[in-house]
């Protein structure tokens, strides 16, 4: 029987705003399947976002949804989780929102290891504002503000998350649609701050400036430039050149923030 997405959607809020060929819808469906796998109750789950195309996602989902200001999703979500640790908190957003204007909140959410899952849809561009380069735009690429080629080096978002202390970091792509739900489900089930970077495509503002003739070409690019971590173990450095790893990149058990704060409460009450 086909999976019933409708029970998690707000049908009267559709159609969504995303362009034809955009991968955000693929990610949204993966997220829904993951939520279903994990059995999260709608009224006990907050889905929090910032600003941008990807950040419109919560509006389509029938949960407690919080569409915050640009870059602030992780900080709002931290407040929600801290005040009600029993809620499931999932963050969604784009690369610019999460790692440029929201970069500080992002790294500190990683550092605290607060039990939330952050899905970053990395399409390497600011889509909603018309295609300006983001911290994830590769050097040399074209954007509306780098018509002569991007002079900036790009973040490796997964590495940034690992370096900042996230205890579960995975990467998938919009092409590998059937893996997205598995990665997100594993991230949700992990206790601690989990980050799932989904390499995504923006045909409208990135693809056409960077010589991708079609969405299919962009999807093929995601396929051809990525290698699962397992497969990469058997490959030589030459074979891996220019490839990006996908799958679960990092996993570690560490004290979780709201549980640690529960101990603070115990200590404070014992000292009273």
């Amino acid at each position: 029987m086909a999976f019933d997405y409708d029970k998690y959607l707000r049908p009267n809020k559709l159609p969504h705003i995303w362009c034809p060929g955009c991968g955000h819808g693929i990610v949204m469906k993966g997220l829904i399947r993951a939520i279903d796998t994990c059995g999260l109750k709608k009224e006990d789950t907050a889905i929090v976002s910032g600003i941008g195309c990807a950040s419109r996602l919560p509006g389509y989902l029938d949960f407690c949804t919080l569409h915050t200001a640009h870059g602030r999703a992780a900080a709002f979500a931290t407040g929600v989780k801290m005040a009600r640790p029993e809620m499931n908190v999932i963050l969604v957003g784009g690369d610019g929102d999460g790692t440029a204007i929201g970069g500080n909140h992002f790294i500190h959410a990683c550092r605290r290891n607060i039990n939330m899952t952050y899905i970053i849809m990395n399409n390497k561009i600011y889509g909603m504002t018309g295609g300006q380069f983001s911290p994830a735009t590769p050097t040399g690429d074209k954007a509306s503000t780098t018509v002569y080629g991007n002079p900036d080096p790009a973040f490796d978002i997964a590495k940034l998350a690992i370096g900042a202390g996230a205890t579960f970091v995975a990467r998938g792509t919009a092409f590998h649609a059937n893996q997205i739900d598995k990665l997100i489900a594993e991230a949700i089930q992990h206790k601690g701050f989990s980050v799932v970077e989904i390499l995504d495509d923006c045909p409208t503002t990135y693809g056409r400036r960077n010589k991708f003739k079609s969405v299919i070409e962009m999807m093929n690019h995601l396929k051809e430039t990525t290698v699962p971590v397992k497969a990469a173990e058997k490959m030589s450095p030459e074979q891996l050149k220019g490839k990006v790893l996908t799958g679960v990149l990092y996993k570690e058990e560490k004290p979780e923030y709201t549980e640690e704060y529960a101990k603070v409460i115990q200590r404070a009450q014992a000292a009273k």
């Binding site: 509006g59 900080a75 005040a83």
Partner: protein, 377 residues
């Protein structure tokens, strides 16, 4: 039984007032001269099962505050000038999404880093106009340690009652001054909680104006699912650009406060009945002014003090009335004339306003005010 008394600093009193009001959540970032509030809350909140979090920056603190408040918690943050500037983005979010919370801002010298340990009263316009767009503003300006305590409780009550961020802004002198405070018994001061929905979750709309200008607010995690956004929104919380909704909603958000100004405004009149010169002063400056008024009366000058305790909404109508009886107003303030400008806006040119404006980090002393009274013809 004798009431509990203590010798407390303004900032400590704010924290105690917040606890009396039922505050269970604090998110902040260290900044001079308000940090004592965060320090006390970090000690006291966990004792009652509340939550304290020190965030990565001022914006993050304001974001976490709103997130915590959306789960139903009464929430407090403390900051000062530069932090207030940073928080403005999300103060606007709190206004449009209608999330109750309290922002305690100690006024220090500015702009920018300014004079971190010096007193000032120069954030009062930022309290009203700091964030972009039209929005409601409530700002309280206490003048004593006891009043910081009581006005912090009132700040929470107003935030909950009108479902909006409320600012309480002592100047650095009031915030760091120590005085005896008498604690009220539990129940002695009214504590207001936000109205929660009476309808079942499937019928709930977070901005349903059929319940009046202040719609009930459900808590995340309480069985209600709904959408919150910083975009202009429909009664169900979802974004809209439909002109009729945007206009009506913005007007309602402002009307919530302006239309209830009589309930929110609070001021004190001291010897104003027959006053020919009225000193309009708030915060620590009002203490110098009262001292000056007493001295002036001894010298035969008919002086009075008008002291706003709520700065926003400003008591415009009353000042207009008083403007018809006085020879002049005097506006002593630790800024370059912000309050004088506000007074000017409401007295229709009926009386001159003589300013005493200090931004050198020193308080305005009573002698300066008396000297200014003597300039009045």
């Amino acid at each position: 039984m004798a009431k509990k008394v203590a010798f407390l600093q303004g900032n400590e009193a704010a924290a105690q007032g917040a606890l009396y009001a039922g505050c269970k959540f604090f998110a902040g970032y260290p900044i001079t001269p308000s940090t004592e509030v965060a320090e006390v809350m970090s000690v006291e909140l966990p004792k009652i099962g509340g939550k304290f979090i020190q965030m990565e920056d001022e914006i993050g603190a304001m974001a976490a505050l709103l997130g915590g408040a959306l789960t139903g918690a009464k929430a407090l943050t403390s900051t000062s000038g530069p932090g207030l500037s940073l928080k403005q983005e999300l103060i606007g979010y709190g206004c449009i999404a209608e999330i109750p919370c309290v922002i305690y801002n100690v006024m220090r010298g500015g702009p920018s880093t300014g004079m971190p340990t010096g007193p000032s009263q120069s954030d009062i316009m930022a309290a009203k106009w700091g964030t972009h767009g039209d929005h409601p503003a409530i700002c309280l300006v206490p003048a004593s340690v006891q009043e910081v305590y009581e006005e912090t409780i009132r700040a929470f009550n107003l935030a909950e009652k009108y479902r909006t961020p409320v600012m309480i802004m002592p100047d650095e002198i009031v915030a760091h001054m120590r005085e005896r405070i008498v604690f009220p018994e539990p129940g002695e001061i009214e504590v207001i909680d936000r109205t929660t929905p009476s309808v079942p979750p499937e019928q709930y709309k977070p901005y349903d104006t059929s319940f009046g200008d202040v719609p009930p607010l459900a808590a995340f995690g309480s069985g209600y699912k709904f959408h919150v956004t910083g975009l202009n929104k429909l009664p169900d919380g979802f974004p809209t650009t439909k002109a009729e909704y945007v206009q009506a909603e913005e007007e309602r958000q402002v009307r919530k406060v302006e239309g209830n100004a009589a309930d929110i405004m609070k001021w004190e009149e001291y010897l104003c009945e027959d006053a020919e010169i009225i000193v309009v002063a708030f915060g620590s400056t009002s203490r110098s002014a009262r001292f000056a008024v007493d001295q002036a009366r001894k010298q035969g000058i008919k002086a009075g003090l008008f002291r706003p305790i709520t700065f926003w909404p400003f008591p415009e109508a009353r000042l207009l009335e008083l403007s018809k009886q006085v020879k002049a107003f005097i506006s002593p303030e630790m800024n370059l004339g912000m309050c004088a400008g506000v007074i000017k806006g409401c007295i229709e040119g009926n009386a001159p306003i003589l300013g005493i404006f200090r931004v050198d980090g020193e308080p305005i002393n009573p002698d300066q005010i008396i000297d200014k009274m003597k300039e009045v013809k």
